[in-house]
Symmetry: C2
Subunit: 397 residues, 2 copies
């Protein structure tokens, strides 16, 4: 447990200032004037507005939580999950109403992580999601494993239900209405992911890309000279799908920030792109994916085959060995590796990194078979589960 | 704990026979006649000798434990560590003499694993090794971390000492003599690694390669038509050092066996080579390496730089986060990744697989920085420790 949300602040404004960076918090940029090469700044505390010129401009405006059409996030008892302020507000609400029923809307990473942690504190939690399984960014066979874990944890699932409205007479929530049911709730958490906060860029005329995020190249340059973008407001090149995508994750944000900084300083730097890697935990399982899944493969019209195998995280005769399911996708004809998904016990999740690295190197499934992966009975099996899956898949390509 | 050594048998002779394979145990091949395309077989139970013709011959004669010049492994109380029979003999000896002092000769993987497990049962264990640290296949700074772990476990170390002779009056061991001391011991375990058992191949005229192992190409073909070799008797191509090496490990043996079988069946198959990956555990630490280390880099005359960083296996604010040290080597000029070593808490060891995969793909250190590795606060840090090391190293290349 982290006791104080302040402990989650990676770097304070003071730390930036000590590093010689003029960090102005509570200052909002209201306009970007590309022709004048200046931004209009509102000092929120002093109430004054001024223009600040720039040589280079970095847009790092981040993302906003998704709030469905017709839902008022200002209703009492309704919370989004994005900022530390959100976390503090949820924590206070939970403390004030220990017996409150909680509904989490959205069964992706954020929704499932919220639901699990609430359940662990003994609360009644219902997750509402329009898909047939939780974590529907995984293939149905893999997300079914996650759904089973959630049920074992005692999380109530309202799947294949779409949120229609809040039941909130007098501006205080008492439940949610879906297209199929009414779920009572004193606390509603909207865990529906985020959208890029690209309004400032858009109004200035900076071109947008995937999912309405600021479009950037591999040096984080936008379509406008001397204007860069990085992080959750920007898109990124997908090395596997070979098109730009929007994947607002801390890892990409950190790397894009580094590359943009180096590029602005005139040094060579390159963010080659993403492969779509993510990992989380539910119950005692790790859940991870990288590359393309069934849905993206179908959308891209690729001719592909998959193989899913179940094995153990260690040699079967070792104690503490737990199960691991690995699914791989490969392209027919070329044999190219397209993606992988893993659900398994402790330590299983980070094994996705081998697949992510192989994707970055544009390896074939056959190449995976040749990899010299580490083996010791207490840490893995002689044939790493990723290679067992490759051995099965390679026959179908 | 594994209760019965029989549980360690991966496949019994009966299982082979059920698969339609004529498995003849207790039959020794005494001669290979390449011209006649036949092998001379001794049936050890019946005492008869016969010739068996072949279309294809696979040499899978394995390896033998190293026994130093002048040491008689037949002395009572002295054991090698290679076969299940060795394991059974050691187990019996330990049961028969619960208070026996044990000396393990050799501080590599096998020696350290033996010493740790003996120590955990409360025994007095001394490890004798001629190097200044345990696990001297790691760089000195990394192997020093392992040595410290061994000391914390209460293992007595006799480092920079070379075994000279056994103190075994009447054929029963009571100690070992090194060039610097006498160490009392009722049980002596020789954990000095293995040498290829290539005598049969050599006497037949099959060309040998690295370390006297049977030389094979990427389809496990030897220099003689229709004769193949696989496993601990064969060498392998080192993808990083770009020469053949001898690395007798279960992972390579399994892969070579598969490839040799496919090749003999006339199907395309390729064992591209090894990158020198290995992993083990000592105390609560995982210890792993892949690629070239300081010693090999010096021997190959490469112009290289290294960086070692310490980080945490999870985000620092998370519970159960443990320390991890990652060291990387890269080639100056080309920027090519040359190798990596990891010492760290639970889950750290298998992270070497990312480096092994990157080596297989001939990635640069800069390429490592771009990898889309999985992040979740409970499973890793935003910048994976491998990438933190790459970020430091890239400045020196």
């Amino acid at each position: 447990m982290v006791d104080d949300t302040d402990d989650l602040v990676v770097r304070t404004p003071e730390a930036f200032r000590r590093a010689g960076i003029d960090a102005r918090i509570r200052h909002r940029v209201s306009t970007v004037d590309l022709r004048r090469r200046a931004v209009e700044v509102v000092d929120l505390d002093e109430g004054r507005t001024y223009w600040e010129p720039y040589d280079h401009l970095l847009l790092a405006t981040g993302a906003r939580p998704v709030v469905p059409e017709g839902i008022d996030p200002g209703v009492a008892g309704v919370y989004t999950v994005k900022s530390l302020d959100d976390a503090r507000a949820i924590k206070l609400a939970l403390q004030a109403a220990p017996g409150a029923f909680v509904v989490v809307v959205g069964g992706g990473y954020i929704g499932v992580e919220m639901a699990e942690n609430l359940r662990r504190t003994g609360r009644s939690v219902t997750v509402v999601d329009r898909n047939a399984t939780l974590m529907a960014h995984l293939d149905p066979d893999m997300s079914a494993l996650v759904t089973a874990s959630a049920i074992r944890l005692g999380i109530t699932l309202a799947l294949e239900e779409a949120l229609i409205s809040l039941d909130a007479p007098g501006g205080v929530v008492r439940g949610v209405e879906t297209d199929r049911a009414h779920h009572p709730a004193q606390i509603v958490i909207l865990g529906l992911g985020v959208r890029p906060d690209a309004a400032l860029a858009a109004s200035a005329g900076v071109p947008l890309g995937a999912a309405g995020a600021v479009h950037v190249d591999e040096a984080c340059r936008t379509g406008v000279p001397d204007v860069f973008a990085a992080g959750d407001c920007a898109d990124a090149y997908d090395l596997v799908g070979r098109r730009h995508v929007y994947q607002p994750l801390a890892t990409h944000a950190s790397k894009q920030g580094r590359v943009a900084g180096l590029a602005i300083a005139g040094r060579p730097a390159r963010f080659p792109g993403v492969t779509g890697t993510s990992v989380t935990q539910i119950g005692s399982s790790d859940v991870s994916r990288t590359g393309l899944g069934e849905r993206e493969i179908r959308a891209l019209g690729l001719d592909a085959a998959s193989a899913a195998i179940s094995s153990t995280t260690r040699v079967g005769y070792m104690p503490d060995s737990s199960s691991i399911t690995v699914k791989l996708w490969g392209e027919r004809g070329s044999g190219r590796l397209l993606g992988g998904q893993i659900v398994g016990g402790a330590g299983a999740g980070k094994r996705i990194d081998v697949i992510a690295t192989a994707l970055s190197a544009a390896m074939t499934v056959e190449d995976l078979l040749g990899l010299d992966l580490a083996y010791s009975p207490g840490l893995s099996d002689t044939w790493d589960p990723v290679q067992v899956a490759a051995r099965v898949l390679v026959r179908d390509l």
